[in-house]
Symmetry: C2
Subunit: 448 residues, 2 copies
Amino acid sequence: MTTNLTDLQNTLIPLIQRERLEDIAMLLGELDADEVTGLLERLPANQQAVVFRLLPKDRAIAVFERFDPGHQGDLVKGLRAAEVTEIFAGLEPDDRAWLLEELPAGLTAKMLHGLTPSERQMTADVLGYPKGSIGRRMSPEYVATRTGSTVAETMARVRAGLDEAETIYTLPVLDETRHVMGVVSLRDLLRAEPDTVISQIMSDPVVATAYDTDEEAARRTADLGLLAMPIVDLENRLVGILTIDDAARILEFEETEDSSRQGGVEPLRRPYFATPIRRLVSSRIIWLLVLALGAALTVQVLSVFEDTLAQVTTLALFVPLLIGTGGNTGNQAATTVTRALALGDVGTRDVRRVFTRELAVGFSLGIILGFIGFLIVGLLFGFNIGLVIGLTIASVCSLAATIGGIMPIVARLIRVDPAVFSNPFITTFVDATGLILYFLIAKAVLGI
Amino acid sequence: MTTNLTDLQNTLIPLIQRERLEDIAMLLGELDADEVTGLLERLPANQQAVVFRLLPKDRAIAVFERFDPGHQGDLVKGLRAAEVTEIFAGLEPDDRAWLLEELPAGLTAKMLHGLTPSERQMTADVLGYPKGSIGRRMSPEYVATRTGSTVAETMARVRAGLDEAETIYTLPVLDETRHVMGVVSLRDLLRAEPDTVISQIMSDPVVATAYDTDEEAARRTADLGLLAMPIVDLENRLVGILTIDDAARILEFEETEDSSRQGGVEPLRRPYFATPIRRLVSSRIIWLLVLALGAALTVQVLSVFEDTLAQVTTLALFVPLLIGTGGNTGNQAATTVTRALALGDVGTRDVRRVFTRELAVGFSLGIILGFIGFLIVGLLFGFNIGLVIGLTIASVCSLAATIGGIMPIVARLIRVDPAVFSNPFITTFVDATGLILYFLIAKAVLGI
């Protein structure tokens, strides 16, 4: 697929530069929606709008739906108001919510105005839930049935919802006051006799409330392998449905966010090649400045021990090795615990258990690496220096694993994304404390 | 949910220690399969088998299916052969393949022997594809139809497959020689008249071959929001189906792997608390040793410049700051590009474009940070030293972003997981080259 796209791109760019619009339209006509999406994602922002305009309306909406939300926002800024309103009306209510979060408030009001009253209501319902909640991501277009309905009646509802509903394969089962009492799958319906009552064949429902975070609800849907999960209000009344394909999209978004933060970058929220250089720079510069500020601590620490350094210059040789090892050990612990938190394997109440486990792991790693360090450095630089290095590695590893392990949980406790407080932050913190340990140990062992 | 599990665990552990098996069985009887799974995942390995044995057979299989493959392997080692065979027979063919990869060959043969001939055949088919291919992960239990069949005939097939098939919601459409010509959804079938011919309502198929990597096929299924994707052999003949819930499971597994490697840890492949301390240590020690070996280079480099250091001790103060900034810049680029590769936004043919983009980004970051560094260090330590630091930051950032950006693509080109060659590796590499630049610049500027 990639091969094709690169070739297509090489054909397309000169056509755009020479404004050969008809040729471009012809080329686009031969591609399916996924190919067009892939192609647009590889063009600079200013060229995308040119190409996008040449798509027929249906195709344009299909392509637009496939974009990342940030990328949708970029593209919209390059289009005319009438074009935007048309696309907006063609989207599903949950996709509209993604897009509106990217746009300035003035534009939002204008676009909502362009919808039919019932569509405006559905979009407003979705927008009524807080940012980051699954209420924003669910679809209000579901087919539900009643506990007292028969299979035949339910199949009639399914047929009536064929065109509009987000899914017809999983149906929430409601009581008289819209409380979710169960779920029934289309498979169950096909298996049962037409006059069977739904309450006899429904299964226990697994639901999320509209106020749960989108990541939690999506992770649960995926972990349980559900095709769809009913979303309820705080009184367990049905308000929408989350389908597995939307759950997968939410998880991909969250994974990208976690992976970015783990590497100290703000998430791009648009494909790599569709991101202008200046946005790449701005996604990185803040973190680098924060981390450099943190690293200024190490300059501070080293200044304090400058006399010791001047006395035994050899000590300077091991600074990168020691802080590197500490940073790596801390990163490992933070990575493991951050992922375990994301998967729900570890919760905030486990902070003490994680502390003892990571201390044990860090201490074991420290003993092994410290001993190796002691031997090798001892043989090459004398066993005095070897002892300093060995002891420092042992203590830095214990410290780093413990800090690295509990920081993500602390972040979760104070309601910050665990990935924010993660690897680069821990590295910086461990660097400074590691250096203090190093010089204190050196002074004690070498008697300086 | 977490709250419950912690409490349950605190109730359960004393019962296990006092071997109160009846009380444990009673406690388990009150929980659903997900709660039991969560609970078992938080127990040490030796206690898990005790509890697992007390589950009724159906429940045991439901719980077992929910475990990570590595975790399944651990548990199986604590059970008797008869128990294992029973569980194995209860699994789906694709789940069997996950488990068999975890077990020694002797046990594999024994377990395959315990299956009925048709199930053994299906499992063997799945096992016939290479490790890491989607052939290993697909389900051979599908319902398909023919281009010439009517909707009524197809609905009869659907009804016949209700109990066994992995999904009945997406049906591959085959010609006379089993080539995949299209797909039809149950929704399409319900919408059409009974005597409509399938070829009139089917859509173009999106397929993967059984030899594609599981990650590619799963990512595509999720990106396109498909409920299921037909899997074909090299002649486009149907061999199985990949459902979106299995795709989500594969992606979760891959994300965990990428996130782990990004942090320099081997993936655990089991929940955090179910992982013994010694396995946590072994998942980290190899990487730490490799990285420490790399860091030995920095000791080497610094020894070469030891005289310079002894002359101007101040230079030593900035070593952690400089290599930290270089490492962070490299990490950022590597993180962004690794994720873009995983999402398919960047391919191996883009190496030159990524190179120029990252060089531009790194240079921009370097100019900004270098100028700030020049000012601050200049004011505090004199503008000679400030100039050294500023120039070093500018060149280290350019170097680090470029290396960090292209290394993941190089890894993909030589068929290594891009995440392996990632952050810690790049940090180490950039540390050593950064130091060389630093001292060369210092010697030139300070004239020593």
